[in-house]
Amino acid sequence: MTDFTGVRADFPLLSTAEGRTLTYLDSAATAQKPEVVLEALRHFYRYDNANVYRGVYGLAARATAAFEAARETVAAFIGADADEVIFTRGTTDAVNTVAWAWARAALGPGDEILTSEAEHHSNLVPWQEAARAAGARLRFVELAADGSVQTEAVLGALGPRTRLVALAQASNVLGNLPLDVGAVSRAAHRLGAIVLVDGAQSVPHLPVDVHAMEADFVAFSGHKMMGPTGIGVLYGRREMLAAMAPFQFGGEMISHVEAESATFKEAPQKFEGGTPPIAQAIGLARACEYLSGLGMAEVAAHDRRLGELAASQLGEVPGVTVYGPGGARLGVVSFNLEGVHPHDVATALDQQGICVRAGHHCCQPLMRRLGVVATVRASFYAYNSEEDVEKLVASVMSTMEFFHHVAH
């Protein structure tokens, strides 16, 4: 069993003098970075910085080796092979890559994309646009009463015209238990459909094995899993990547160029036009190693425990509504205080050193389904503790008091 007590000390932002006063509960937006990741970035720039693939000299060889080792590490972290890992700018970029490079070419009138109104805009709007461009149709999984996407509902919504299923494995708002991607993939494949998983909230917080879950594409962001900003991953099943046309033209993705035409390399290079995010890949790999060191099963259990504790304790505060499932859940808790706008709550909590998100969390359709304009969201990660939950709950209570007391 990993002991999470010491984890916080690995994170400079949380353990400097000022940081010690912070209760950072916005990891679903972006995670803090352990010192080892900052050090990996610094080390690369100080000792190994060169462009990759192209150089003959020793420095370039080191940079290339470090970059390709990073790809191996990230691939191993998600149970993929290295040539299935494409470095992107983030989840949004990864989803859009598939929307441009695959969907616009592969879909046509009558074809259906199955998604949901609980998706992050980054896994919804690209499909709206691709569907419009291809003449395809969006279909939406029926949401459960708590707003969540349930595996059963997905299986029921698959139809003969479904060509693509694009769903998040874990919600960034509700904290419901993850989608059973394996079951969805197997059912979708039987119907000739492929599955794109928005893994932005699952890869950082759960053990994910892309081969075992038989997904065709998985998109995720480095910055949400303790890695640097400016990097993400598109995992693509080898056959999908081989069949898909490239999308960013130029640089190392190219094999042979004539004035009027060009031929391209194989994946992953095929999809990595231009100088890649070299230092960021190396930093992300270090974050994967750090997370593996903690153990992803342990991280998952830890995050869930804090999420469940927060949800149950907040649920007992009079006037507080907690969204999402009642019992077992992940480490994301959205809630509202009666008569107090989420922005006011977030400002009040911030005054007490608590960083939470207030807003629609890039999920406007889901907000409408929940019947709210916005929510407050607390999200937990390995550096959080029960103490953070206690602080949150106490501050929510005093915030309620402040607005109701002063206002009456």
Partner: protein
Amino acid sequence: MSLTDLYREIILEHARHPQHKGSLAEPVSFQAGLNNPTCGDEVIVQVRVGPGGTIEEGKFDGVGCSISMAAASIMSGMVAGRTLAEAKQLIDAYTAMVSGKQAPTDELAELAAFAGVAQFPMRVKCATLPFHALQKGIARYEEGF
């Protein structure tokens, strides 16, 4: 810096019990809406301008946080009796104050309660939302449609 620096009594009072809220009776000289996509706040401002170019009445409608709703409430009351030029001056003085560029002036009267917003940069947008809507409305009105 404490919570009461931002949430002055008068702000909370207006947020709870907004004034000049709802639809303005005809004739309406202009109206303008704005929203803050980040938090979903929405505000619509309606204004009737009298024959002499003086604002006779202002009203607002919308949903939002205490800051934006209180600002809309106080603003709607204060515009009445001012010329459009004076209203624009008010908008400028207020915007300068909440973004920390200028101390509260006398002219701002009750709006001086929003001076604390300057210390909360992420809330400046909330505080200015109704004012930007009013500004948009005046601009359109003056362009003649």
